[in-house]
Structures are given as structure tokens and as C-alpha cells.
Subunit: 235 residues, 2 copies
Amino acid sequence: MIGTLYGVGVGPGDPELLTLKAARIIRKVPVIAYPAPETGPSLAHRIATPHLPSGQVEIVLRMPMSAEHFPADTVYDRAAHDIGGHLADGRDVAFLCEGDPFFYGSFLYLFARMAAEHRVEVVPGVSSLTACAAVIGAPLTARNDILTVIPAPLPDDLLADRLSACDAAAIIKVGRHFERVRAVLLRLGMIDRAHYVERATMDSQRVVPASAVSAESVPYFSMIIVHRRGAAFRL
Amino acid sequence: MIGTLYGVGVGPGDPELLTLKAARIIRKVPVIAYPAPETGPSLAHRIATPHLPSGQVEIVLRMPMSAEHFPADTVYDRAAHDIGGHLADGRDVAFLCEGDPFFYGSFLYLFARMAAEHRVEVVPGVSSLTACAAVIGAPLTARNDILTVIPAPLPDDLLADRLSACDAAAIIKVGRHFERVRAVLLRLGMIDRAHYVERATMDSQRVVPASAVSAESVPYFSMIIVHRRGAAFRL
């Protein structure tokens, strides 16, 4: 009698971009867990809400989002302990993860703590990567394109080097690094081919040229997509 | 009275990895289009089957899959013409695309022909990239990892260079290039950290170490995922 921990990708934000499998699993498990900001509602929980039956146990991981405290080891430690208790008692647990659990997902911090000793299954989800491409309305990659995903917190030289060595790039976790990233894109002559996206597929979604963004408004979960080939797509 | 062309990602193979939005759209449109091999059933159509009402018009794109004929321009030209006719008559059309339409998707060849003159909307899907990570059971990327997606048909030196410049790599379209790719991975000392996946999330799925694969059995749609950090995942 041991339970399974499901890492369930709930997609980028639009509740309709949940998969049928994710909906089935979060409907049937007796325990759900999900990340939430220090105060206020959880995006992952909001996406899943239409499918959640009443009476489920909820484990809320309230995450301190300041750069200094993130990731919040004690929050994950305690959640791993609580979830482990449910699994040991034979109850399945679904962790709701924005996007895809194995693609820079918040689930990774639980996975690192629990995979060695528990049965874990991951349900892949629509990632922010392809969601951003869809809302921009431009293909991400075709034929033999090389795609690189680059976190914005990395040093300028590394950013510039990797941006120069691919056909399409997604710069993630832009947030407070926006001004630095923009300077790199300017230097490389790429700024006019850079699309900025925040909250892709949500009602509050914003899709604009990277050159039109003011740095102080950029949230952590934002992305810039750059194509070497520029705006015109030809095959 | 003009119709919309939907590029609908139907996910990597498991029919449950379809999104709720994809299911809604393919249920309501009067016309569907989908790729199929020269003979035999279409994977994209099989995934969508449970949601298709009777009476839809079906446009089947029978693709010659040999390396010499691919992509088959005349097949796409004719499909674009037929689909354009339905759109002009006010009928919406959904093109069923394995994985995600904008991530190396077969939809791109229609998009290139039709986006300038028609209303096109893309519904993102679960990509083979995160599906492969899920079935391997190992995180693709965490924290500030750099991820690169590299098509196997590219030259050895380029493959080696890009593999050396990231934390996680996905080598796609392996097929008849397997032996070359394996030689590159051997040379870089990466072969023991390389997972081979074919038909991810399907009943016939195969997940094995890349070192255990015999080259003659490798289909076009197969993938190798390599992590710099190796099998042990730590955060």
C-alpha cells in the first residue's frame, strides 16, 4: 500500500490547455499539492479548479519569491515530508505544476527530494516555450533549426555567445534582467527580431516587440523569443 | 464569411495528452486535415479519433517519407489550395499536428503557404521534447540550465560544438543518422549519459540507453536526450 506522486503539468495558463490525462489524475487523487505566492491565489490551482472534486486534502506551498530566498528549501522540505506521509499511507498525491514539470518546473524541487524513495510519475504539459510561440504567431523551429533556451540570469557573455550559435532562442526568467538582456540583443543586432511575452495564453497576456518594453514592468515569468531568420517565415 | 485555419497540436502520441482546447476545436470544425504516411493510418488522426464527430470533411495529406522526397511540396500545395477553398466558403479547418505545431511541426509547411492570406490560430500541444523527458523519468532542465535542441542531420562538427555548449541537449530526427550521432557522443564522452526514446507515450514506446541501440532499427521520429550532469539529479 504505497501511493504514487504525480508531477502534473497543468500548462501555461489558459485552463483549456490542460491535458485530458492531467484532468483525469487531478480529479481522482485524494491529495493535491501546489505552489502559491506568499499571499494570494495560486495560478496552478486556478487552472485546475474546474476539475477538482470537493474533499481533497490540499498542501499549499507558499513560496517566497524574492531573489534572495528562492528557492525556499524549507518550504520544499516540509512539503516533501507531508507528501511522503500521504504516500506511505497509500494515498496518491498530485503536484500541480505550471507548464511542464521537467522543463524548469517548480516540481523539480520536490522530485529532487522524493524520487529516490517514492514512486513518481510525470504527466507532461504544454510548456511556456511553445505557448509563447503560439501567441506570437510565429513558428519557433522548422527543418534543421537549432533552438536554445537560455535563462536570463546567466552572464552577458554567455548569453551573447549562445544567442549567436542558434537559429531560434528563448530567453526565460527575464524579470529584473530585462535591461541587461536588451543591451545584449542590441549589441548583437537582434533587438528588432525579439518578441517579448508575459503571461502567455492568460487573459492578461502581453505580446510586444522587445524594443517596446519598459524594464520596470517585467515580471519574473516572462520570455523573449528571437529568430535568426527574422519576422518573415519561409520554408 | 471567412473561416479560420487552426493548427492544432495533438501531443506526442498518448491520446490522453490532447488538451481540452484541442478536443473542443476538433469537435466543432466542419473540416479536418491531417498528415498520414503513403499507406496506412495517421497517428495524428488516431489521437484525435475519440473527439471527431461524424460528417466532417477530411483532407488527408499522404506524405512520401523517403529522405529524397521530403518535404513533399506538391502535397502541401494541393492541401493549401483545398483548405483555402473551405476557408473562403466560411468553413473553419483544423489541421491535426503531432506534438506542437510550431515546434518542428508538419503544420509549418501549411503555415508558410497560408498565413499571409488567411486567419490562422495555433493551439499549442505537448511537445515530444517534454514527453521524452517524462518517459525517461529524468528532469530536462532546472534552474539556470541551458537547453539546446539539435537536429541530427546537421554536420558532426556542429553537433559536437553545440552538445558541448549546453547543460541538456535533445537530438531530434535521429533516424538513419544514429550511428554518426553515437560516434559524436562517444568522442565527447557523453554516451553513458544519453537516453534514446522512440514513440514516447505510445503503447509501442521504447526508452533505452543510447549505447544499447542497434542503428538499423532507429525510426525518423526518435530522440536522444543527454544531460551534462549525468543520471544523478541534484538541486
